[in-house]
Amino acid sequence: MQAFEYANPSTLQEALSLLGNRWGEVDVLAGGTDLLPLMKDEIHTPRRVVNIKNVKELGGIQSTKAGLRIGAAVTLEELLQSALVRKTYPALADAARGIASPQIRNMGTVGGDLCQRPRCWYFRNGFGLLARDAGGQALVPGGENQYHAILGNSGPAYFVSASLLGPALIAYNATVKLASASGSRDVPVEKFFVTPQNDSSREIALLPNEIVTGIVIPSAVTRSATYEVRQRQALDWPLAAASVVLRMKGATVAGARVVLGHVAPTPWVSEEAAQALAGKAINEETATEAGKAALAGATPLSQNAYKVQLARVAVKRALLQAARGRA
């Protein structure tokens, strides 16, 4: 890890004044569960690290008129322990519970989950976000791509979004609140994740001089769930995941949001699955069809066709779980 100067602000305004205008100058430290490994591998080499754990404005979970507000520095364990979250937003609680490491849940934060860098091993080994060789040739399509994207992978990005909470937040139509020294702005979580077009840009809409301050999830009476398919039970990112939110009219679906995780460079909103479910009751057959519809456009790479079936099953099981209404 390269040496850096450490700032420990206690107010948001002070924290914002410490940020840089270009990526690479300053990193924001919350839980550190992603940032410290990135710095040890010198994928990130900031001159300054700004600890935001002592900024009061970034904490807390509150019910507001606009919905549930979750502070960016709320830990994943605090999120999971919130009775309000577990009762009202089970898809979010499911995703937090899936982070199967008490140590990560105790330190990792909601804002950090959204801002964590991709797990792509080319990126983590210094080949850049778009993983190209010295001649500009993409390494992933002909390389070790078993954990890479099966949707939205026509280039230039092939990694999968690492965010565990993103799909659920998008399914709930949540908004992420960003602040800079010159003001604040709200971005739908769906628009927060972007496919980078070059190595110097990021996979999120955050600017270098901004901090994620919180999330707002609109209130709604819905059924929802997240289902993750994992290689093992402990300490790993899912191979595929699906978050679903259902608005029911009697026994049939009036509206559905189906968002897949870990299959594309961003969380993947499937309009196809939502359309397949419209006006139908949720049962084994309709849930299976929705899973098929969600993956109909999949374009697996040389080593990851297995993920297509895993993602179909994730959609099906998330739908069945949501329909059962398990809180």
């Binding site: 890890m1 410290l36 008490p102 140590q103 990560i104 080994n125 954990y147 790993d236």
Partner: protein, 216 residues
């Protein structure tokens, strides 16, 4: 996960002391390495100077470790794990992956289990830090430690201190656990020898001993 085959030289060269970076540097030649470092230096302009920042040189900090204040002088980049092991001579917490994925460095900070390799020492100030060294009193083992011995819950032993700390914290919060809760509660620690069966039995037994049952 396994590392991929290396398909060629990376565009980005590391300037640190990693073995990988060293090998790459040698392979490419020191001239190319130096050039790349200069290029990076030019890109990353230092941000505007600010008051109230510490480092990058060594700074004085105080850590509350096993009930005692410990003063030390460390750079902000020093992790809690390195501070414990290299500065305070507390080598119970093990440095295995150093990337927050194995759990061998688990300590209890402010009542919660954390990976000491993923916490900056400077960030751990003002919090009670408990390490494996604090568990036994004299020759009297903590019930979790005693149960690990009785159930032969280790082979090479590298993961053991982290597992014991994770188990202790888990039992403090879940005095009557089911086997399923034990599995989920200890899911942040790995054992490459595969002694999970013995460890789960040990944790179950320790849960009874800690409630005043027969001590091992």
């Amino acid at each position: 996960m396994n590392q991929p085959k290396e398909p060629g030289d990376p565009k980005r060269l590391r300037s640190g002391f990693s073995r990988r970076g060293f090998i790459r540097g040698v392979g490419i030649g020191s001239g190319a390495l130096g050039g790349a470092v200069l290029h990076e230096e030019a890109l990353a302009e230092p941000p505007a100077a600010a008051a109230g920042v510490a480092g990058p040189g060594a700074v004085s900090i105080t850590l509350q470790v096993n009930g005692k204040p410990q003063a030390l002088n460390v750079e902000p980049r020093v992790t809690l794990l390195d501070a414990l092991r290299n500065h305070l001579n507390l080598t119970g917490a093990k440095k295995v992956c150093d990337r927050g994925t194995c759990g061998a460095c688990t300590v209890i900070m402010a009542g919660k289990v954390v990976y000491a390799c993923n916490v900056l020492a400077i960030d751990a100030q003002g919090k009670n830090i408990q390490t494996i060294e604090s568990l036994s009193t004299g020759s009297r083992l903590h019930p979790v430690e005693a149960a690990f011995v009785r159930h032969d819950a280790q082979q090479c032993g590298y993961c053991t201190p982290g597992f014991v700390m994770a188990a202790k914290n888990f039992l403090d919060k879940n005095p009557n656990p089911t086997m399923q809760q034990i599995e989920h509660g200890l899911s942040g620690n790995l054992c490459r020898c595969g002694t999970y069966v013995g460890m789960r039995q040990a944790v179950l037994e320790a849960s009874k001993a800690m409630k005043g049952g027969p001590r091992a």
